[in-house]
Symmetry: C2
Subunit: 224 residues, 2 copies
């Protein structure tokens, strides 16, 4: 029991999210959703005139869950951008573990099925993908001179998000968290290289390119 009663609309969305995950979108009938959500067809069509409206609401719902349980939670438990980035990955890992390896991200799970036939939903998923990438990119920017100015923050963020999404596939197929852990391990190693590059530049002429370190704006950098 949550702190408040869920609304019919919320029940329809969470029920559909679970059914879409298990059976796919096309295989899930409106009647099954209505029945399992303990709703009426009147209320269903009031909230969702078309089944695609519900699909869009489900995509938004899963993105919101991620926003709260992963991104906001990572920000709370970290006071340093690079640490926050890896907290995101750690919380994502927790979701995978909790889901018994059948977890799918809002994008990876539904995108294969709906991206060709539902252009509006695909566009919304692309927005979520872009928002996640921007979020990681901002953390990398916030890291300031902990990373060299030449580091392409947007591209590193794309690597983080794509490898995270691909690792979800590996986890689901292998029923093991090992692919995810290997990916995070290597991302840590890569970010470590990007940081040591800055340190090397600060320490002396190890790289050929002349990069002047920017004075630190934060005193609380912590190593992970």
């Amino acid at each position: 029991m949550g702190p408040r009663k869920t609304t019919t609309r919320e029940r329809l969305i969470t029920t559909a999210a679970e059914l879409f995950r298990r059976q796919g979108y096309a295989q899930t009938g409106v009647n099954q959703i209505i029945q399992e959500a303990n709703a009426t067809s009147g209320s269903f069509y009031h909230f969702f005139p078309a089944k695609e409206d519900l699909l869009m609401a489900v995509v938004d719902h899963i993105a919101e869950v991620f926003e709260v349980e992963i991104f906001a939670s990572a920000a709370e438990r970290s006071d340093e951008p690079i640490e926050e980035l890896f907290a995101i990955l750690d919380l994502y890992r927790q979701h995978l573990a909790d889901g018994g390896f059948s977890f799918t991200s809002p994008m990876a799970g539904l995108s294969a099925e709906v991206s060709e036939n539902h252009p509006q939903v695909r566009a919304r998923m692309a927005e979520i993908f872009a928002a996640w990438t921007s979020r990681i990119e901002r953390l990398l920017r916030d890291a300031g001179n902990r990373l060299a100015p030449t580091v392409d923050r947007a591209a590193v963020a794309a690597l983080v998000v794509c490898s995270m999404e691909g690792a979800v596939l590996g986890v689901r197929l292998n029923r093991s968290l090992r692919p995810f852990d290997a990916v995070v391990d290597q991302l840590r190693n890569y970010v470590g290289f990007l940081e040591s590059q800055t340190a090397a530049v600060a320490a002396g002429p190890v790289t050929r390119r002349a990069v002047r370190p920017i004075p630190s704006q934060r005193a609380d950098w912590r190593s992970w």
Copy 2:
């Protein structure tokens, strides 16, 4: 027209592969496959007693296509392991471009739909995933002392395969090759770091850990 006539079995498989990609597995009826493959239901059930048998054949088929068009082709056009690794990524990129952004990998596309309800197919997909990762890992091993002995080849291979698969999702959602290109760019950068680490070790005491370079077994290392 190929160099030889395709068999009915082959036509059923390639037709099903395309229909599964477009519509998903569950949404594709046996009758539609038979009709579009210009076959008979007698021949269908001769080759595939159950629809799941066809699904397994489709998964194997796509893996074979990848084997020939990506892995074997990359080996042909490269005479150096690291170069071959990036040739694989480049050929994969070509597939994405040719597929008009709707391309799905044999795993990413079907896995979300079938991995929970078809354990045998999931296991087969997991084997393919593992085979791809092993292949990349072997290339990294073949790179010998171009990479430091301390580099965890299996984990780097997992990063390559996972980020490649995740990038396919990014490409499909964004209808752009940019996510894929950003990922490859960063993987090149990472491998470059792993290589420079070895160079630094060979050049002098830059890292604290003492790593003795292994004598080169190949004289034809080329930088990319």
